[in-house]
């Protein structure tokens, strides 16, 4: 830790909300990105799920939007320490998307337009814990926030909620994604403050 800067307070951090350890509340919606924002037209958008046996199932935008979707409100926790509470989305549950997949795979690797990847256990995608979300705050999801559609897995740090998701591979073997291979925790539970390797 550095020397204390006399009189420096920084952005408001404490509040009455219960946040995971080390987080502070924001009211705006910060945009983080490891590269230029992919611009994907819904006319060419495709989302796929592939199984460990090599079977693939894909949806184009019309097919995807024909699936049952739901509105939901969740809290977001970014590993860069900001948290945004009660954000409103609409999306298709991964339970719906995975319903037809014949798989016993334990691991998943999400791939995105632009090249980003992130990995997580299949169990964390199921049972109402994850969505492919396409609306935020009642409007189509903006490209800078991951539109046309992004993965949303709010019980883990937000880097796992892959923006511009295009495919999820179900795998027998775990493979670390973009940040997981650069020191970020393989699982990423904000409530246990699992930010980095070894946490």
């Amino acid at each position: 830790m550095g020397i204390v800067s006399p009189g420096f307070r920084g952005r408001p951090r404490s509040g009455r909300e219960k946040l995971p350890p080390g987080q502070y509340l924001v009211t705006d919606f910060p945009v983080l990105s490891a590269g230029p924002t992919p611009r994907v037209d819904t006319s060419s958008w495709k989302f796929s799920i592939t199984t460990e046996a090599g079977q693939a199932h894909s949806w184009d935008w019309a097919e995807f939007r024909a699936l049952p979707s739901e509105e939901f409100q969740v809290d977001l926790h970014c590993v860069t320490k900001w948290s945004k509470l009660r954000t409103a989305w609409r999306g298709v549950s991964l339970d719906t998307l995975l319903a037809q997949a014949q798989t016993s795979a334990e691991y998943a690797l999400a791939h995105c337009y632009g090249g980003y990847t992130t990995n997580l256990p299949v169990a964390d995608l199921l049972d109402g814990q994850a969505w492919v979300a396409f609306e935020y705050d009642g409007r189509p999801l903006a490209a800078e926030h991951g539109g046309p559609a992004r993965l949303l897995v709010p019980h883990l740090y937000l880097w796992k909620s892959a923006k511009w998701v295009r495919r999820i591979d179900l795998r027998a073997k775990d493979e670390p994604g973009f940040w997981e291979s650069l020191g970020y925790h393989n699982y990423g539970d904000p409530w246990r403050e699992q930010r980095y390797w070894g946490d």
């Binding site: 830790m1 550095g2 020397i3 204390v4 800067s5 420096f8 307070r9 920084g10 952005r11």
Partner: protein
């Protein structure tokens, strides 16, 4: 030349505020005493780190405004309305306060007074700071390298180092400059109000044929527009060095 040639990794140091100078209504130059400061090259910057009592800390980069050489380090900071760090530096810091910094940083966006070739400096707002270090380095070294500054500002009130630049325009041999006013100009003077244009960027003796080294600094949008205009005017892309401050301008 005064370049940080010491091998070794950058570490945080604590400087002491010696003076705070008012540059404009919203910009201040912070004059620092930094023990063991190794010197710097014109165009380099420092990272400043602020830490609150609860351990929360954040850092920002600020260009060094002073010329290379012995003596105190000067940083010019523009206060951003919703900034987290800049208001602390411009409004809360007092002489005697400590300030944690590391540097000097950067070996690419720098100008060496030993270079005799012409230099075109293009500044957008607070992008003027590292370019001022180059102008001051030129003066301190007695360099005759031809310098031209194009300085884009919102209004005359936002000009940094106005008096010094005016004096240099009149007295420094081989130094010339033009202002671009994007919102309002000096009272009583008829000037064009608007953004950078190819016409302003070029001047007698300052075309792409002159092949100057070009340094552009300012908000991202400004830097991209200026670089694009210069490349289209025939300047070699490799001769253009840019330092984007990000969308908010530093």
């Amino acid at each position: 030349m005064a370049r940080a040639a010491v091998l070794g990794r950058l570490t945080w140091q604590v400087g002491t505020v010696a003076e705070i100078l008012e540059e404009t209504a919203t910009a201040r130059t912070i004059v620092l005493d930094v023990p063991g400061w190794p010197g710097h090259a014109a165009g380099q910057h420092v990272d400043v780190r602020l830490t609150a009592v609860d351990g929360y800390s954040t850092q920002r980069s600020y260009s060094i405004a002073s010329a290379p050489g012995p003596g105190r380090l000067e940083l010019t900071v523009q206060r951003l309305e919703d900034g987290e760090v800049s208001p602390y530096l411009t409004d809360t810091l007092r002489p005697g306060y400590p300030l944690e910094l590391r540097g000097p940083i950067g070996g690419w966006f720098v100008w060496d007074p030993a270079e005799p070739g012409p230099v075109l400096l293009v500044a957008g707002g607070s992008g003027m700071v590292p370019l001022m270090s180059m102008i001051r380095a030129r003066a301190a070294a007695g360099s005759e390298a031809p310098f031209r500054l194009v300085y884009s500002v919102r209004s005359p009130e936002t000009v940094l180092y106005a008096a010094e630049l005016e004096r240099l325009s009149k007295t420094a041999h081989g130094f010339e400059m033009s202002y671009v006013y994007t919102r309002s100009g000096p009272p009583g003077v008829k000037v064009r109000i608007g953004r950078l244009t190819p016409v302003v960027l070029s001047a007698p003796g300052w075309t792409s044929k002159t092949a100057p080294a070009v340094f552009i600094c300012g908000p991202t949008g400004f830097v991209e527009a200026a670089a694009s205009l210069l490349v289209r005017a025939g300047h070699d892309q490799d001769a253009i060095k840019t330092e984007r401050f990000g969308p908010s301008g530093g």
